[in-house]
Symmetry: C2
Subunit: 328 residues, 2 copies
């Protein structure tokens, strides 16, 4: 084996890890619980030991690691390798990259998890080979990553990529961020479910009502399920989820000119039920003066995106010398 | 003199040109009529002769030119130095960069005029020193340029930077591009004037009405003048021009994270009358979870931006070897 790359997907519940060759073909993967309650230093230790154990199990040594990449939720300062804040892991201004590099004696790259997913799809998924692409991560919230001219975009003070908080309906629905009309307030899983529930509580007929009485809640998955069975309210709610995303995509395209916009995350399990109306609304909204338009498509990598993207980014950063901690 | 850079601002009516030292201090400037009716080859000849004449007048030779930059309206393929189309200069798939380089025997860079203005403000104006900034060109239409990580963004097939056609009001006013609700349909000079006129024709009282009876038209400048004198309709129209731009800026900021957003072009002669309500609406729309926000400001370079930006871009591209034709 010539080169060995390790990718880590750090989550609030689990740490996923994978081992890749220089072609980003996966060799091994594993996962361990994060145990965030044990504190920041313990997280470094758990990651390092998980890597050591995975390699040892295959009779390999950490000295063979060419480079390691790690994706983390929260606000990340990729240039300096710091987890600035996380919503639920208790990390604050934490130099995760350098600590891991010192512990494992290998070059390490740290990046935001949405950027990692974007890089994964760009290297090995739906955006393979695209120097200009976007990823929209549709889950509880809406996040994103931007590749422009072959590089991830970070912006001033790592402010780039908050794609969920682009305003699509001025003076529209209140978003958790304090703005009105964000795409996240229409198209996240939470907002999709909330819009359905509001309608039911206002007395709209829907097959979702029985489910609500039964479970005391409605999820986006429920909405999509009932839409697929023809419930008019569920179809209407799904349509607005798709329309807000389509309006966003028109704007995103006119901004950085991506060749592909890749939809990623839990909500994309709805598949064509969600993608088809996004495409339809995009075509209805899109200008008439140019036939060329971006391809709107679903991500291909699912749960492995985190480990693939972080390993592939480690390889990229090692090659260009950017944003990487080289252990002494 | 160590180095000599020439910047050309190609317009439908005039060709402006300037001569700069390596610090981008201006040495000489000049302008000649474009005479577009004479055809594409004649444009190359007129540019080249204007450069030769300007230098000769100062006892200099074109062999002293270190590099030359040229900004052109229309769709530009900067990588290949081609004017793909122009609205009113009759150029189509025209290899302007290489023809000029062969004629003047110097390295030449060609770029879109909005990108040139953006680069000018980035090097020597309101965005000086910013690696992440945007320029919004407010004139008859709305255009823009993007600097991300210190480089101009072109996107896939030069699609980036159509900032005027980002949708701010879904299902809103019809734009000339065929979309509904583009920022250009609210905030360009034409749209600002059109919105005022529509209100008057619907019977709204305004001091602008007399002007319309007199001249048969209303301009954005008229709207701003009357707003400054307290006409309620003119104030209301100006406010929506500003609000649409503010909503755009919130989205632009969450996208590529610019440190500064620079307003440029004819409409910015309105100064604080336009900038103040943009800032106010931005603050009203902007999220509450982060105090850091981009600076919104007016461009500083006015009519000289075209020659400064093209000369400065020539210097930049010569240094990094990108998008430049090196004459044999």
């Amino acid at each position: 084996m010539n080169q060995l790359y390790v990718g880590i997907d750090l989550g609030g519940t689990n740490i996923k890890l994978g081992c890749f060759d220089e072609n980003m073909d996966i060799l091994y993967k594993d996962n361990v619980p994060t145990n965030v309650g044990d504190g920041p230093d313990s997280i470094v230790d758990r990651i390092a030991r998980a890597v050591e154990d995975m390699l040892a199990f295959h009779n390999l040594d950490t000295r063979l690691i060419t480079a390691l990449g790690i994706g983390s939720p929260g606000l990340i300062d990729a240039e300096n390798g710091i987890v600035v804040t996380t919503a639920n892991m208790g990390l604050k201004n934490f130099p995760l990259r350098d600590l891991l590099s010192q512990r494992l004696h290998c070059p390490v790259v740290l990046e935001n998890d949405a950027n990692i997913a974007c890089w994964a799809e760009r290297v090995a998924g739906a955006g393979a080979g695209c120097d200009n692409m976007l990823l929209l991560a549709l889950g509880t919230g809406v996040g994103g990553g931007i590749v422009s001219d072959g590089e991830l975009v970070h912006g001033w003070a790592n402010k780039a990529g908050e794609l969920g908080h682009i305003v699509v309906y001025p003076d529209g629905r209140r978003c958790g961020c304090g703005q009105n009309g964000c795409v996240e307030a229409y198209s996240s899983a939470n907002s999709t479910a909330a819009r359905a529930l509001e309608q039911i509580q206002q007395g709209r007929d829907s097959t979702l009502e029985y489910l609500y009485q039964l479970n005391g809640k409605i999820t986006a998955k429920d909405v999509f399920n009932h839409a697929s069975k023809g419930d008019p309210l569920a179809i209407e709610v799904t349509d607005l989820t798709a329309k807000a995303l389509a309006i966003l995509c028109v704007g995103l395209f006119h901004f950085t000119g991506p060749e592909k916009i890749v939809f990623f995350g839990g909500m994309t399990k709805a598949g064509d039920l969600l993608l088809d109306p996004i495409k339809r609304h995009f075509d209805e909204q899109y200008w008439t003066i140019d036939n060329e338009k971006p391809e709107l498509c679903l991500g291909m990598l699912g749960n492995d995106a985190g480990i693939i993207g972080s390993a592939a980014l480690a390889q990229h950063c090692l090659n260009c010398g950017k944003f990487i901690a080289i252990a002494s």
